[in-house]
Point group: C2
Chain length 741, copies 2
Amino acid sequence: MAGRSADDDDRSGTVVTPSAEFPPLDPAEVDALRRVGAQWRTGVPPALPVDPTLDRYRSRPAPGRFSRLAPIALFRPEPGDRGRRDGLVAAEPANRPDSRLGRRLGRVRRAVLGPPLTSAAVLHERMRKLVALPVLSSDLLSSVAYGPEALLTVLVLAGSGALGLALPLSAGLVLLMVAVGISYRQTIPAYPHGAGSYLVAGDNLGVGAGLTAAAGLMLDYVLTVSVSIAAGLHAITSALPGLTPFAVPLGVLVILLLLAGNLRGVRAAGNIFVLPTYAFVVAVLGLLVVGYLRAAGRGFTPVAPPVVPAAEGLGLLLVLRAFASGAVSMTGIEAVSNAVPAFRPTEWRNARTTLAWMVAMLVVLFAGLTLLIHLAGLVPRPGETLLSQLARVTFPTGPWYAVVQATTALILLLAANTAFNDFPRLLFFMARAGHAPRRFLHLGDRLAFGNGLVALSGTAIMVFVAFGGHTEGLIPLYAVGVFLAFTLSQSGMVVHWRRHRDAGWRRRALVNGVGAVLSGLVLLTAAVAKFTEGAWVVVVAVPLLVLLFHRIHRHYRNLHAALALQPPPTGGGPGARPPSVAGGPGPPAAVPEHGPGSVEGEELPQELRHLVVVPVVRLNRASMRALAYAVSLGRPTLAVHLAPEDAEADRFREQWRAWGDHVRLETIVSPYRAVIGPLAHYLAALHAAAPELVLTVVVPAVVLRRPWHRLLHSRTEQRLRRALRALPGVVVTSIPIHVPE
Amino acid sequence: MAGRSADDDDRSGTVVTPSAEFPPLDPAEVDALRRVGAQWRTGVPPALPVDPTLDRYRSRPAPGRFSRLAPIALFRPEPGDRGRRDGLVAAEPANRPDSRLGRRLGRVRRAVLGPPLTSAAVLHERMRKLVALPVLSSDLLSSVAYGPEALLTVLVLAGSGALGLALPLSAGLVLLMVAVGISYRQTIPAYPHGAGSYLVAGDNLGVGAGLTAAAGLMLDYVLTVSVSIAAGLHAITSALPGLTPFAVPLGVLVILLLLAGNLRGVRAAGNIFVLPTYAFVVAVLGLLVVGYLRAAGRGFTPVAPPVVPAAEGLGLLLVLRAFASGAVSMTGIEAVSNAVPAFRPTEWRNARTTLAWMVAMLVVLFAGLTLLIHLAGLVPRPGETLLSQLARVTFPTGPWYAVVQATTALILLLAANTAFNDFPRLLFFMARAGHAPRRFLHLGDRLAFGNGLVALSGTAIMVFVAFGGHTEGLIPLYAVGVFLAFTLSQSGMVVHWRRHRDAGWRRRALVNGVGAVLSGLVLLTAAVAKFTEGAWVVVVAVPLLVLLFHRIHRHYRNLHAALALQPPPTGGGPGARPPSVAGGPGPPAAVPEHGPGSVEGEELPQELRHLVVVPVVRLNRASMRALAYAVSLGRPTLAVHLAPEDAEADRFREQWRAWGDHVRLETIVSPYRAVIGPLAHYLAALHAAAPELVLTVVVPAVVLRRPWHRLLHSRTEQRLRRALRALPGVVVTSIPIHVPE
């Protein structure tokens, strides 16, 4: 709902409902509604000329011109309480589009995405820990495939001699992983309904912090897709160098496949994650075991790396850059805290255990790989990933090299899917709080957030193509957004503990504080050390995004305030209004005392006074139909004709008299030949002369069946509607005219 | 008017009227109108609640919210016959746009194009011969600047030895010029209202021939702009080679300047043509005199041209190509025949004399230049035009070279303006006959055919840029279109003489026949010999354009037939219809006996029966206003709510009861969460259940002031309107809701 602040949202947590687009009224609004309703005078409502329940017609299923189906079959009665019927339920065919092209596209869509799912199919599926672990950890674990390499790629700039620094830096990263892991471990029981950084930071540090975290996360999700897919393709091209030139189109294809899969609703089919993730872990563990056995055979003597000349001096900045680059191995660590409600009960306990396993596996894989790379004396080189080199050295023969590469590629491509899960959900929560466009609230007919998915895919494809599919180029952008969200989330937890002051809150606050400080340090390191490399993009983009979110929120808030129901002023109470005007074409009653402004608010039907205006260009069936419609409303009617010359005006008046002069005609000579402008100004003048009137402009609109025919028409109806949109109290009624062609 | 054939058009000839957009009714239509009117029953029309003449309010000029002006001052009474007032006249400010951006753009437009001109300012200015000559001949005479060069450029492909063929070919071209000139000389008195190829061919050979000529002419006009400007720039870059890299942007700039000038109405300011054209003629004549004096000093011995190796053999095809290329010197010869009504009386006699002068000057300049180039032994080379080379050789010192180049450049750039005059007029005549979009009938506020001018400039810029501004590349395309129009026009004249059989018709038919045959031969030569060089584009484009014109015509004809007034069927005469329904909200009368089809035609107001449907998403001021509007119409009203879930539907019904249940509510649960589709299908079902009803759908439309805010809304109103457009008998009424932001 538009007017609500982010603080309200943790109550509803991460529960996604199809009704989020239709929020309930506030009690104040219901009260206003009641008071407005009490003042309505509708007289005796005329009987409906057709049964709206379609009951009477259900027996004779005549084919509809619109749907080419028996139209009645599209709707069935909604079963109400105690056997009473409440309304109708639309059957699935009622969603199908009307046009031929639309129906064809609909069939393609159905073939690709599957048949629509009803709201009742919203699954709140619960995951066992053994399933949750691979589903939620693919992003985190997959990043060990590029994390160590990112670290070494920076270090090697200072020559092969600097590679020795990799071990102490990795030790620092492991400490960081453990600290952040413990920190998140504490967050989970505190936010059992979902502990995304946006919610936690917004809840504890205020809307601005929440939006900043959200901006960081949004960038992070986009980059997760790009980086994971780039790394996955790099794993493939390392094994099959012939595919290298096709990396960019292949990456776009993978993103589109992920989009299609998610639009179809891959989410429910989380099982596809189980095998690849475990296979990857097993493959890397196998690699580590064999590798360390071989190293043991050499007495753990490191192989001397090839001599690489130093391109830069070994300064503090370089070391910090290397550290920040390696820190991307930690992306995805917060996936569990987002997904707490998806665990089986007791949710928070299972989630916490899963997180601990995940961090442990991360530490083992990351530390093991970094040390083994050091022992094997490998250095990053373009064209082949470090993991691929390591696998080649470790498994010179046999299929094991291929297994390692295949599982790596698979898990990296699947890791991108994490962003496809979380990005639309984040937008949903933001939209619910009025910080993102409301269209992100809409659950599509497959129960997927189609708009969010498309937004993510589009942005990710743009980034991926712009960077030519190179992982390294994207990593500087990556670390800043991730650690921004970490820092805000952990800081928020510190505030949370301080506020609640449960038993042991000091210890917990300390743990989260340490997490926050460490994350903050990495954030600073990444932003400063990699500023010129591209991190400045994030530093600039985050505030702009936050500004945008604020602007969006302001718009919705203002709109909500303007549209919220307010009781009518009690000054001219119901007695003071002339109820005789209601629903009759009688003589105009006394003008109620209110200015033009009140036309825009809610009004009482008995107060509305009408003037129907029919612009007539030429007397033909279209204008006759518009005139007949206008007259049949039984309200005062005025026809207006615009003529480019006096002679034409005279000619038109003559035709009008030939017709019988049934409607009062006003001709306006427009000596500058414009039609829309003078007509709009004339209506504005009428409105200024009688501000209490509602001017209903009845315009015939020829419905053209072929799009190119639009070029042959001046589309007066559309232009007039656009020109009149700014005028208060002017209602435009379009009379469609269907021509047989 | 749409339904009229091209045959009707020569009656109105080349007279351009602002009322062409508002053609009068046929007598049959007036008769139908009278009979329709006789069956209308409107009852006693309710008195208007406001004076439509704005008379009563004229004394108090309140500032309007829309115009920021006293709205009343925008309209003044139209002075009618015998002092009686007939209608209103819109003052100039009534044309100004309403939005702030629109007002700003309007000021810029006004500064560039000048203040608007009233219809009364349509000038039928008449030209003296001495003025007409330069105005109408700039296109024709300027083409000698590139015609001889085009000829020699082809010949030199066969080596410098082939250049000697230039003289006999030129002699042939001179003969052609004289023949075509005499041929057109005869056309002028026969078509004193304007003898454009489109009109002459259409009048005598049928619509297809007229359209074919029109297609050729349209291509010709586009190419005239491109070729003249390319040649003019080549004259400039020959003198100032430093400008060569900027030729393309300079050309685009010149086209835009010509566009702006013509939108402003350069047409009336024909005097700007006088000086450059005469200056060019004088400069070239000076060049010829000095050149021949120098040649006489050598005893008229030709200087041997530099040896150029042959790139192709000297075959018949090459000679024909050279001839066809040289024939572009004749483009613009028909300008006089288009403009007969612009001469002073006796128009045709003055026009004929002017044409004779023009052809004589063309022959002198063309033959003189070709011979002198031969004597000077010059060959075409890239980078510098032949005329520039000749001027350099003839005037080695002194300012004369610069004068020749400057006048050449100027006349070439002005020559493009001929197309700016004729192209929109051609489209106007085609649009009047229903063969081109009706928007080309519209005289803009500067009395210029803005749409035609923009279409010409846009196409010319595209061609110019696509060919990189190279004249030579465009010439093959050029000759085909020009001689297609010549051939059809002359053939048409032969038919014309045969039909009328005036005194001496055989001689006249023979002259035009010779012109037609010669033009046809050049057309064939150009099309065949230059087919692979690019003429195939024209050969393909002309039939496609003619097909397009036919399609356009068919659309307008069908539309006109569908919308033309027809008297109502006499079977159920006025007595059989229930007049009691007229204009009252009383109980629904018996359903008249007619199917759903008749809803689309003209209807009688007493026959219309209403059901007002208000889709309500959420109860707020917007929906309250829509409901109040609907109820105030006093017709049966039904509210429809679409809910994504049963729970939401229940909640909404509860709110509805809290409001007071003033309107019958039908809820439709849309379990697939779509709104538009089920609503449209529900309305289709209602329509199928009661086809005689007119369903008026009342939709609130929030008016957003900033364009980017549209991204924040799902634009339900627009989407609903689009979905409902296909439904017969469904009228959409938009209630604008203005929010303060």
